[in-house]
Amino acid sequence: MEKLYIEQTKGTPKIDFDPDANILVLWGQSYPENSFNFYEPIFNWVDCYLVECNAAMRIKVNLSYVNTSSSKCILMLLDKFEKAHQNGTSITLDWYYDIENESELECAEEFEEDITFPFNIIPLSQEI
């Protein structure tokens, strides 16, 4: 299966999903012109990956800002991982946040609320 790589822009995060290393990275800000258009290929890739994946996977996220329509897409993405976890896939998610910004922490905590797989909320010591 091919890697999914999307370059970061002002309004969209970097997507670096590596099926060989089983590491999925989502990094940046998310407020695209049309979130559903932006996330659709990501949903499709993840659907295929979760069918093929048979190793432990790690998701690394840092989203310094997520608008509401992107939040809906992130929830849809997390639902897919949650379902895979319920079916026995080993998943760990590391969510990095800026220690000086409590809004980022609250945002991460809210996403964590409906998740049962390991969801680590980790402070970033400096801006990346």
């Binding site: 407020y31 559903f36 608008n67 509401t68 329509s69 809906k72």
Partner: protein, 182 residues
């Protein structure tokens, strides 16, 4: 004459505490540039990151609301008027930042919009979170641009109750404006 108009406009902006303003058709590029500008301005003023985040987030939701509403109106005979009617201002008054935006809306959309805001404007943060979590999970109509929770998100990030007004223009269109303070 033009210099008088410009100076009057500048004085008016200064007196109102407006730092950044844009009037016209919103594009994603304009939203990104204005958002960056206000973030940088607040950073130079050493504002807490949390306040910068909230001002930026409210600005993005307000301007995306206008942009998405315009896209929804693509088939309407009022489309051109609506598309060019957007305005946003970000400013500072008495130490607090405010984000004000406005646009034309079709009269038939006024009632549902007012109902939506009236429903959320006096909820406390706990009830707003509950409503947000319920609504973000709801199925969307095909072709929806947003998640339908922009106003709730704005209310959650606002320090005071949202202020809004709707003024009838000509019996077909009304001007909707909203002011949020951080």
């Amino acid at each position: 004459m033009f210099e008088k108009t410009l100076m009057d406009l500048q004085n008016h902006l200064k007196e109102s505490g407006i730092l950044i303003s844009f009037s016209g058709r919103f594009s994603q590029g304009i939203i990104e540039e204005l958002g960056d500008a206000i973030k940088k301005h607040m950073q130079t003023e050493d504002m807490p990151k949390n306040d910068i985040y909230n001002v930026f987030a409210i600005f993005v939701e307000q301007t995306h609301n206008i942009k998405n509403y315009t896209t929804d109106k693509e088939g309407s005979c009022y489309y051109d008027q609506i598309a060019c009617s957007g305005i946003v201002t970000i400013g500072k008054s008495e130490g607090a930042y405010f984000i004000c935006s406005g646009n034309l809306v079709e009269d038939k959309d006024v009632k549902p919009l007012a109902q939506k805001i009236n429903q959320i404007m006096h909820l406390d943060k706990k009830d707003l979170k509950k409503l947000y979590k319920e609504q973000i999970r709801q199925e969307l109509a095909p072709g929806s641009q947003g998640a339908g929770v922009g106003l709730i998100d704005i209310a959650r990030k606002s320090k005071h109750a949202i202020k809004y007004s709707i003024v009838d223009i000509d019996g077909h269109l009304s001007f909707f404006s909203i002011k949020v303070t951080v």
